[in-house]
Structures are given as structure tokens and as C-alpha cells.
């Protein structure tokens, strides 16, 4: 399935990366990255292990500072309070307080984001139902399985109604039912105007969900566009997997792919 919703390219971007580079010592893990993600856009960041996906995501969340360039979230620099208030981040190894129950954790997040309490109560109840948390939400988080933890973390990420949702490897460790819930959630969030940035190395997920796909390798964005755009540009008859392998295994394009150059 391919998501039909296509964001307007004229709408101002919610996530803007301009000339972003990041070096760990002498090693440059992100190299001059330019990226826009607009409201309602579901952007899948694809790349092999160590390509720079997680580092980019942490810069978007304001946890890491770029060595060069700027990261802007809804008009605010990524490290500011205003940017963080508009953003939700679900890391690949999500953090939960073991000695809080899931419900207590959601209440804590509501307070940290200073939400209106009446609205938050309704939203919490809605998310408990959406993610099917009712049977364990009042148990201590330390007793949860990975899937249960992941669902509670997704609920906590959405409880404050972010404008930007950033997710690192979202489906790892989820059973098919939980994975379906999460995938539906991404689509519904994007359709409601949220900019979703998802990092994954599961190509099928990107193929199934993403409006736009960005392929990153060795810190450089090799290609960006819709699946059809990319296939057309690289004259790729096969699957996204074939194209991905071709791009990331040395057979790289001589010029970076520019979405503006692709005919609609």
C-alpha cells in the first residue's frame, strides 16, 4: 500500500535541515545534509547500519548539536524549548521509568508538556484505547514486555499532540498486531497534518507507508523523493530493495538526486 496523501511543496516545512554536518572526532557521520519535511508528510529515512540516520534524528530532536549547519523545527532552532514542545521523539530503545505505571508515566508527560488537563484526560483515554493498553496500563513499567513498552512510549509521544513526530526504527520487536497499530498511527498522524520522520532499515515499511523516501549512506543523502519519482529517476524496474542496494553498495549516482528536477 502506498499512502496517497501528498504534501504541498509550497507549505513551509516543519523540519528544516540546512547544510547539516556532524563529526565524531575525525569521522564525519553526517555530511552536508539538506532536508525539508512538510506538514502531513511521512518521510522515511532509509540507510544501512551506521549510515547516519540516528545521528540525524538526534540532531532533529536537539539532543546532538550539528558540527555545521542548522536544524529548524517549526521555525525554532532544534535545541530550544519551543522546538521541543512541538516535537515528539520515540527512540529505538525507548526510556520508561520502571517504577511508574504506564498511566503515571502518561500523566508525567502531560505535565512536562504543560497540557490542559481536561483535554489531556480525554486524549489519554483515547490513546489507551487506540494502543490497547487498558489491560496493563496500571502495572509498573518494569514488568512490561518490549512490545508493551513500545506501545506506551508511542502513547506518551502522542499525548501532547506534537506537530512533528520523530521515530527511530519504529517496528523493531513489535508483534504483527502492535505493528499494524503503529503503522495505522503513522498514517493517521500524517493525514492530520503532523510531519512524521521515520528512520528504518526495513524497506517494506518505507515502501508501504512513506510519502517521501530519503536514502542516506555514509552520512550523505543519496536520493530523495517519492517511490515513483525515485524509480523513474534511476530507471529502476525492480523493487525499492534493488534500488537501495544499488545506491548503497558503491554503484552511486554521480550527482545527488534533486527532487525539484524530477517531473511530477
Amino acid at each position: 500500500m502506498t499512502v496517497a496523501a501528498s504534501p504541498h511543496t509550497t507549505t513551509p516545512a516543519l523540519v528544516e535541515l540546512r547544510g547539516v554536518s556532524k563529526a565524531y572526532g575525525a569521522k564525519r557521520v553526517v555530511d552536508h545534509l539538506d532536508l525539508d519535511i512538510r506538514p502531513g508528510e511521512l518521510f522515511a529515512f532509509l540507510g544501512p547500519n551506521g549510515a547516519g540516520k540516528t545521528t540525524t534524528i538526534k540532531m532533529v530532536c536537539g539532543l546532538l548539536r550539528p558540527t555545521a549547519g542548522s536544524v529548524i523545527i517549526d521555525g525554532f532552532p532544534a535545541s530550544t524549548r519551543e522546538a521541543r514542545a512541538r516535537l515528539a521523539f520515540v527512540p529505538d530503545q525507548p526510556y520508561l521509568y520502571g517504577k511508574l505505571t504506564g498511566r503515571e508515566f502518561l500523566r508525567f508527560v502531560v505535565e512536562m508538556y504543560a497540557m490542559d488537563r481536561r483535554r489531556a484526560a480525554l486524549r489519554t483515554a483515547e490513546l489507551i484505547e487506540t494502543f490497547e493498553l487498558a489491560s496493563f496500563i496500571d502495572d509498573l513499567c518494569e514488568t512490561y514486555s518490549h512490545g508493551m513498552r513500545q506501545r506506551v512510549v508511542f502513547a506518551s509521544a502522542l499525548v501532547h499532540e506534537p506537530r512533528v513526530l520523530v521515530v527511530d526504527e519504529p517496528l523493531i520487536g513489535l508483534d504483527p498486531r502492535s505493528a499494524r497499530i503503529v503503522k495505522n498511527l503513522f498514517i493517521s498522524q500524517a493525514r492530520s497534518g503532523v510531519a512524521v520522520l521515520m528512520s528504518t532499515h526495513l524497506l517494506a515499511i518505507a515502501e508501504e507507508l512513506a510519502d517521501t523516501i530519503g536514502i542516506i549512506h555514509q552520512g550523505r543523502l543519496l536520493a530523495r523523493g517519492t517511490l515513483d519519482d525515485l524509480k523513474r529517476h534511476y530507471r529502476e524496474e525492480g523493487s525499492l530493495e534493488d534500488m537501495f542496494l544499488r545506491l548503497t553498495e558503491g554503484d552511486r549516482p554521480t550527482t545527488p538526486f534533486n527532487p525539484g528536477a524530477v517531473a511530477p
Partner: protein, 578 residues
Amino acid sequence: MSLDSRGPGNPRKRTVHALRWLRWRQTCNHFTALVRGSWLRVVLVALFSAIFWGLLFFLFRDGFRFIDAILPSTNEIVEYLFGLFFLSLMVMLVVSSGILVYASLYQSEEAAFLLSTPAADDRVFAHLFRDALVFASWGLFLLGSPMLAAYGLVADAGWPFFALVLPYLVVFVLLAGSTGAAGSMLLARYAPRRTKTVLGLLLAAMLIGGLVYAVRLLATPGQVFSLDWIDALLDRLSASQSPWLPSRWLARGLVSAARGDAAQGLYDLWILASHAALAYLFAAWLSTRFLRSGFSRARSASSARRRHGVYAIDALFHRVFAFLPAPARLLILKDFRCFRRDPAQWAQFLLFFGLLGLYFLNIQRLNSGDDAWPPFWKHVIGFLNLSVAALILSTFTTRFVFPLLSLEGRNLWVLGLLPMSRRTILWGKFLFATGLSLVATITLVLLSDLMLRLPPGVIALHILAISILCAGLAAISVGLGAILPDLRQDDPSKIAAGLGGTLNLVVSLIYIALVIVVLAVPAPWYLELLDRSQPPGDSPIRAVLSLAAVLIGALSLGAIATWLPMRWGIRAFEQLEA
């Protein structure tokens, strides 16, 4: 505490309330889970803490009474001793809180989570700093409170002294902790790649400084406890009495309060509190400037991959232990590599055993010339030193050996699929723990006995005793670690602090007590055989029989303590499903 009743709409205030509420809920839930789940642990911890506190109290009380009885101007000497004691604690607190704050702010997943929320940086700092400070300072309260209570009792201090003790300790801890926190934030900001170098240099400086100071004190001229000796000693302690040192304000204030000068006590408390507040403000200000950038730098620095190769020490290990089957040898080598690549393990090992070695080295000073101890006391001190080495070893085996199997955690299936029996795996861990323990403890016991100038027979007996203790303690930790594994936990300190770790410590302490009692109680009867300087007893048969009984008893205890836990551990490990 309810969130709904607090805070209007101000986001900053709501963050503050939310973080307070978080800690409150965590504490309540933790306590409830403890009482429901492992009440035995709660009772044991409370009981052993009370016993430990009581023992310290009586020890300090007798110490102060001794000083009061034989020395003039007790208060002056106590003020000097407090000054030195709290100066040492202050240095240790600055370093330990610095390390803990660094780990909390820059390495914990909680910090990453909180920094991704809209919480202000100084609120995140305050939240994580408080937790780290409690963790860094509980030892000071456990050690300082019985000492000060005993001093107050002996000095017949009034209620102002007792009322001031807690505020003094709290502001003292806040001052040292804030200084350490400020240092760790500056380190993360300006030298995130040099943290280990800086820490190593700091520890080395502390060790050398402590050594130089200790040697100077122990080399104080004159007959011990004579007036000249006391004068010279106070002169050498004067460096810890600088009016610029917070430890000095604390010592002076408390001694003044004990003497009935409450105004001076309050004045010094005020000075200490204002400096603590200033230090905390400085640290909080630094956090608004440097926390986020330091976090980014520290995380970026730690992402650089480290490469480790094959070392000569590994080759040497293979040669020395060539008699072991290759898979077992490789498994032991794996644990050894983990040990030497984890500074938390070897640093604690070196610190504990290094300090003990330092003390043993200085025994000679108290055991020479006119001050030489009679043979009976030498033997008593020899046994006490042996016990201390074993006690320290038991904390080490509980902290690092007991969690070994639990730490395999998610990789347990790898061990299960290895072409060797699980029995061999467990014996491999036992050999690793025993070997490492033997090297450290035999060195220490030899050092202690040589400094005490004990006869060769007694030294041989002590080496046998510490070997039995090493084997037993290693087997208890490996065996119980296999019987009570916590495969979901990847933090060894939490595994050691769990029910299994607590039980391991208790069993280890009982074992040490049994071995020492078996060896020491009949000592007057058999020592004449080992120590020719002892007067011969009236019943040589009794001496021979008591020595034989001691050897058989200690060896039997060692065999039981080694065989039983290993047998039960192997059985549990073989039934464990990876």
C-alpha cells in the same frame, strides 16, 4: 502528593511539580514493591544497617573516651581529627559526586529522555543532580552520624549540637556535590574525550597526596601518645586546618556547638550554607549554559569506536593456563578482558586493596622499637587483617562476581550453544574469580604478616586460610549467581543490590565469620607449635590436636562452601532455559 491540585498553567512551574511528583511516585511504588515482593531484603538491609550503625557508634564512643582519658585538650585534638576526617570525605565526595553526576547527565537514558522534553535545562540538572547526590553521600551519613552522635555523648553536648548535626552534614554534602557537578559539566563541555585521563590523574593525585600525608603522620617523632608526639602530630595535621577549607568550618562549628558555644556553631553553619548555596547556584548556572552542549559533546565523543587488539597479557594467560581445556580458557579470558576494560571494576579493586595495602605497609611503624607489640597482639592483628581482606573481597565478589552470569543475559543462548558443558562454563567463572582474588589477597596477607614479623608457620596458616576463603567466596558468588540470576537487568550494581546480591553478601559474611572463628578461637592452644617465640604449653598433645582440628575444620568448611554452591549452581544453570 497530587499533580492535579498543583500548579496553574505556568509551564516552568508545572515541570518543577512534575519532576517532584515523579520522584515521589517512584519512591512510593519502589517501597510498595519492596514490601510486597522482597520483605526479607528490607528486613535484612534494615537489620544489617542498624548493626553496622551500632557497631560504628560503640567504636567511635570508645575511641573518643580513650582520647578523653589519656590526652589533654580533647576538644582541640578532636577538632583537628574532624578537620582531617571531613577534608578526606570532602575530597572523596567531590570526586564521587562528580563521577555520578557525569554519568547521570551525560550517559543515562533518563537524561536523553528529559532533554528531549520541553523541561528547562537547569530543572533537568536539578532533578538528576539530587538523585546522584543522594547516591554519593549516603555513606557519609552512615559513617558520620554514629561518629558525631558518639562525640556528642562523650563530650556531654547539649541539644544545639545534636540539632545542628544534620543541617551541617546536608550543606556540607551540597557544597561538595555542587563542586563535583560543576567540575563534571566543565569537563563534558571542554574535554569530553579526556574524561578518563582527567579521572585517572585525579585519582592518582588523591592516592599520592593521601600516601604522602599518611607517611608524614606515621613518621611523627616521639613516644606515641606523649605530649611531644601530640604536639608534633597536631603540627603535621595543621594543613587540614586552613581557615579556607569548608571541612574546617564544619569541624570548628560542631566542636563549638558541643562545647556549648551555639552562636559559633550557627555562625559556621551560616558560612558553610552560604558557600553551599553559591556552589549550587554556580552549578545550576553552568547547566543553563553547558548542559545541552556538554551532552552533545559527551555523546559525540563516546560514539567514537574503540579498538582493542590482542595483548601480550592474553598470550601469557594462555601459556600459564595451558593445562585448562581451550574453550574454558577462552571463556575465562573473556571475563578477564571484560574486567580490565571496565574501569569501574579494576578501579574499585585497586582502590580497596590499595588502601588496605597502604595500611598494612604502615603496620611496621607501629610495631617497631619500644612500641613493638607482644606476640599475642601480633597474632590478633594478623587475624584481624586477614578478616578485613576477606571482608573486602566479599564486597568485591558480591559486586562483580555474583552478577557475572546475570550479565550474560540476552547472550545466554550463546553460552548454551557453545561446544562445552554448562558445568565447564561455571567452573571457568569460578576459576577466574578465585584466581584474581588469590593474587590480590595472598599479596596483602603476606605483606601484613611480614610487616608484623610473624613466624613462617603462622604465615603459611594465614595463606591457607585466605586461599580457603577465596575459593569459598568465589564459589558462593558464582553458585548463587547461577541459582538467582537476573537476566533482564544489565546494570551490575542493580543486580548486586537485588535480593540475590544481598543474600550473597550475607552468606559470604557468615562464611568468613565461621572460618575466622574456627581458626582464631583455638589459636592460643596451637600457636606454640607454629611460633617458636611463644612459651611452650603444658600439653603438646592438645596443641597438635587443636592444630589438626583447626586445619580439618577450615578445610572442611572451605570444601563445603566451594562444593555445595557450585553443585547447586551447576544444577540450576543446567536447568535454566536460555
